[in-house]
């Protein structure tokens, strides 16, 4: 009994303290027994009494440790749960969509697709849970929340720490980053599980023809970069979720990540090989348009227009995005002046 008790207390404590505490604890138990029994042998019942008096070993260990052990502390926990829910919902939706798309493309393989779907859900759920939990556990361990907020490295709160009254223009509605994470995860899963093709489905009587927008092999080659891009986008949305307000740091981070996305986007889309060369002819093969007609010609024109202009669209998108967030700086300046 005594051995069990001592073990139960010490194994919860740091390695280097164990031998000393064990000696002390055994001494204490012996002293307590001596008090009850005198010089004789203590019997099981008395040992139990003494141990009961000492109490739950977990509680005693906590007293020795002097602090609680949380994986993710109370302060951080709510945010953790929110992120967990968003990621879970995104994975669910993304996989469901991929599954449905798969069904539409290859209706004959329902069972296979369904098995993939369920396995994907389970694996995806476990992965998502693991990554989110790990991230938050690390944040909890290494980041002292008090260190985050103090300006000038002071430890004590002072009125200078008061954040300005939130300007309505600067607050980020909860729905925005959640939707952002949601759609990013959906598209990410689409790319990863649907092997990265966009396809246009056309029924042509006796089956379904897949018309690739992108060349599947080339997309697969770019997959690591695509994953990085999505990771950056998702992280960006998550940081919005954590702060719920536009701050200078957030604007800067957003700008930097936009640049990263711009670079990756341009890098991928300036490679002409990414587009599926036979796109327009596939439409003809599917019997939707006449191979020599006007529709064919205009479609070809549109197709080359898209191919060459996409990098420009990406750049324009970047500029607009950047302008919009830099615009946030204006009310921020006003806000800094509130009493």
């Amino acid at each position: 009994m005594t051995d069990r008790y001592v073990y139960a207390v010490t194994h919860r404590l740091p390695q280097n303290q164990r031998p000393d505490i064990e000696r002390e604890l055994r001494g204490l138990i012996a002293d307590m027994l001596e008090e009850r029994v005198g010089q004789g042998e203590a019997d099981g019942g008395q040992v139990e009494e003494v141990l009961a008096e000492l109490g739950d070993p977990a509680v005693l260990a906590a007293k020795y440790r002097g602090r609680e052990r949380y994986l993710i502390g109370p302060g951080l926990f709510d945010t953790y749960v929110v992120v967990l829910k968003v990621v879970a919902a995104s994975i669910l939706l993304g996989l469901t969509v991929a599954f449905l798309v798969q069904l539409a493309i290859q209706p004959l393989n329902i069972l296979d697709a369904f098995i993939d779907y369920v396995t994907g859900l389970i694996l995806g759920a476990v992965q998502g849970f693991a990554w989110v939990t790990l991230t938050f556990a690390l944040i909890d361990r290494y980041v002292d929340p008090r260190d985050l907020k103090r300006k000038g490295g002071r430890k004590r709160w002072s009125p200078a720490d008061l954040p300005p009254v939130p300007d309505a223009k600067l607050s980020i509605k909860l729905a925005e980053p959640i939707a952002g994470i949601f759609f990013n995860v959906v598209f990410l899963i689409w790319f990863v599980f649907a092997a990265g093709w966009f396809a246009v489905n056309v029924g042509s009587g006796d089956g379904v023809t897949v018309i690739h927008l992108f060349d599947p092999d080339v997309i697969r080659g770019y997959l690591p970069l695509i994953l990085v891009a999505f990771a950056v986008a998702i992280l960006r949305e998550m940081s919005k979720l954590l702060t719920r307000r536009w701050t200078i740091k957030l604007v800067a981070w957003h700008a930097v990540s936009s640049v990263v996305l711009l670079v990756i986007g341009l890098y991928i889309f300036t490679d002409a090989a990414i587009w599926h060369a036979g796109f327009v002819t596939d439409w003809a093969k599917a019997g939707l348009i006449d191979a020599s007609g006007e529709a064919f010609a205009s479609l070809s024109d549109i197709w080359s227009f898209i191919q060459t202009r996409t990098p420009i669209f990406i750049a324009i998108g970047f500029v607009i995005d950047l302008a919009m967030i830099l615009w946030k700086l204006v009310p921020m300046r006003r806000q800094a002046a509130t009493p």
């Binding site: 000393d20 000696r23 000492l54």
Partner: protein, 115 residues
Amino acid sequence: MQETSEIIAALTQELRRGTITIGVLSQLFEPQYGYSLVTLLAEKGMEVEAGTLYPLLRRLEKQGLLESRWNTDEARPRKYYLLSETGRHVYAKLCEEWKAITAGMVKLMEGSGEL
């Protein structure tokens, strides 16, 4: 809703908790080991559980207020604690604080007629 008696018990415990450290320090001008201290304090009217005292002694040692030594002379090895130089100084200061606090409490309670 808490029973009044429960509330009283909880608040009294809080009150006592604040006095344990001073009480412990006061008895360590002579070397004591954990259990002898428990008995000693109990004799003088301060009931402390061994499970509370032992970790406290360890913490006070870590803070530098106590020094410890394992005594292996007797049949059972025992860890003896003693006030350190710093500990004696801190204890003296704490006693001053205590006197100031009690003086203040007396004034507060005089007004309410409880004293």
